[in-house]
């Protein structure tokens, strides 16, 4: 029996109570595909993935396979990977450079811009009446925001600026996409793995759960200490992290109570100790790296001269609904961009790509990239322990008997007040569960009311 009619009481984000039914009910999952994934702006990649005309990468919006392509005129398009004739896949590769796509079933051919170009035996079988201009690949709306590509499958969907509020765009531009210091560069290749449990469980982990780090990843923290003491240097045992004792940490909620949230955890404001930490890490790589770290810091200071205190780094984050972010704790680490693709109520796939700061010296890029794939990555020392937790949640909570027993999201409940009002967004205590609560606030807004009131959508 579906819980769709009870979402208001099951998702008590204001009370810090969320019932596991929303991770297991197939009807909730089905509505989510329409409302959250097909109805909103979902990140699909970066413009670097399609630098040249004819370039494309395959991806998904929810369960819908899409092709992100740059056409001959240089326009970036997001096309649904489905032939309009019988619904067959037209693109079978992860990425490439092509003139177009030909369906393997009956041979309908589409250009890289999605237009239907040729149909076998068109004149003889369709008597010259096939209106090819109406049978191009289905196309999503696309926004290129500082290089990050967003798609909305619903052409009548919300305006991008309404979906992502001004403060969300400010944090994205300045911190996630590092625009003041030259921006980010995407490395080619999807790193993908299956992971158990509902996609929202990992999404809420990234948006606000810094609470788990000390316990879930304790084995790694211990090895890190031990290796440092023994003087054994590896990219991950020397990787800077946010545990500087004298540095204040905050949770950032952009879009607080208003739009699709961007949550950033363990945000650190600038300080001498942090800068010294980064310089020390850079000294191992030589003068060029040190100069770059200094210069970068100067440029960031100028760009954020009006911010007091000046935000410097953050530990983890998520842009609603499914873009996880990590590696922002230092300029010497690469950036993890992780898409959490739903695969049924009890499973998801992680599609991950790596970014580095475009203007960083080669030696910094090389080290930064190692810290990505040795860290929050399918074969890293961090992510597999998270996967294990999600597998255990499925085992413990999937029985319908557990669906209505609410889970606890009480950390700093009622204590969300903005501690740094001069910065965009709402800045609160850390670690907190405010961003998990904000995630479910917006999710519930999309999922309610019931279908009839929304023009009969699922």
């Amino acid at each position: 029996m579906s819980v769709l009619g009870e979402l208001g009481s099951l998702v008590g984000w204001e009370r810090g109570r969320i019932a596991p039914a929303i991770y297991f009910d197939p009807e909730v999952y089905r509505r989510e595909q329409a409302r959250v994934f097909a109805g909103g702006w979902v990140p699909v990649g970066h413009e670097d993935m399609v630098r040249n005309p004819g370039d494309y990468v395959a991806n998904y919006v929810g369960e819908v396979p899409v092709i992100v392509a740059r056409d001959r005129a240089g326009v970036i398009r997001v096309l649904v990977n489905k032939c309009r004739h019988r619904g067959n896949q037209v693109c079978l590769f992860d990425r490439g450079n092509v003139r177009g796509f030909t369906c393997s079933y009956h041979g309908w051919s589409y250009g890289i811009d999605g237009r239907l170009i040729s149909v076998p035996e068109e004149q003889r079988f369709y008597h010259g009446a096939l209106e090819k201009e109406k049978w191009g690949l289905e196309e999503a709306a696309v926004v290129n925001f500082c290089g990050l590509l967003f798609a909305c499958l619903d052409r009548e969907g919300p305006a991008f600026e309404d979906w992502l509020g001004e403060d969300v765009r400010w944090w994205l531009r300045h911190f996630v996409l590092a625009e003041p210091v030259g921006g980010l560069e995407a490395l080619p290749g999807w790193h993908r793995y299956e992971s158990p449990a509902n996609w929202k469980l990992i999404a809420e982990n990234f948006i606000g759960d810094n609470y788990h780090f000390a316990h879930t990843h304790t084995s790694w923290i211990r090895v890190r200490h031990a290796f440092q003491e023994q003087g054994i240097l590896t990219p991950m045992t020397t990787a800077p992290h946010s545990a500087l004792r004298d540095t204040a940490k905050y949770s950032v909620t952009a879009g607080y109570r208003s739009s699709a949230p961007l949550g950033l955890g363990a945000m650190l404001t600038d300080g001498e100790a942090l800068h010294e930490r980064d310089l020390q890490d850079a000294r191992f790589l030589g003068k060029e790296a040190v100069e770059w770290v200094r210069d970068r810091d100067d440029r960031m200071s100028k760009a954020l001269a009006s911010c007091e205190p000046r935000p410097a780094y953050f530990g983890h984050g998520l842009l609603f609904p499914n873009l996880g972010l990590m590696g922002y704790v230092s300029p010497m680490t690469g950036k993890h961009f992780l898409l959490f693709h739903p695969r049924g109520p009890e499973a998801h796939e992680i599609w991950q790509w790596t970014m580095v700061e475009r203007e960083a010296p080669e030696a910094v890029k090389e080290l930064a990239v190692q810290r990505v794939y040795q860290g929050q990555h399918m074969a890293g020392v961090i992510a597999p322990d998270d996967v294990e937790n999600f597998e255990r949640i499925v085992e413990a909570s999937h029985s319908p008997r557990a669906w209505r027993s609410p889970m606890n999201y009480d950390i700093h409940l009622g204590h969300d007040q903005d501690q740094l009002p001069h910065l965009p967004g709402n800045i609160g205590a850390e670690p907190s569960e405010v961003n998990q609560r904000e995630f479910y606030r917006f999710w519930l807004e999309l999922m309610e009311p019931d279908g009839d009131e929304r023009g009969g959508q699922a």
Binding site: S219, T354, V369, A379, V381, D385, E388
Partner: protein, 161 residues
Amino acid sequence: MLTIEDRQGIEQLLYREAHLLDERRFREWLDLLTDDIEYLMPLTEHVQGKVAPAGHPIIKDDKPTLMARVAKDETGWSHVEIPTSMTCHLISNILIDEESDGEVAVKSSFIVRQARKLRDEAWWVGRRHDRVRRVDDQWLIARRCIYLDATVLPRGVSIFF
């Protein structure tokens, strides 16, 4: 010129290694690797036309990084190996070729089944291209490149291949 004894020694090295991994004798396994070991797993993708290669592999470990992975499980707090995984490494199709620099190129195929907890499991299948070297009368693995037959990995990697 490799002798029959050399070839047997190299085959025994791979079989001994498989048993050490399955018996979770990871410190002894590390001893079968040279200090300058390169342990690699490239990214498997389906690409079409002229595109740039993948930006980085899945794994590129040196000996200290492999030691860190072993040490992580030894803490007793590595959730991904609690309770420990049961693995069975089946190694086959071994092909041994002498190289001009005195090292030996060894190809092998593998099926590894990993079983976790009650009914969670993963099957890992692929090929390894190794370089082995004789050090003080013992054959050691100096380089391993693991080609996994998977574009989407079945779970996070917490075992060795």
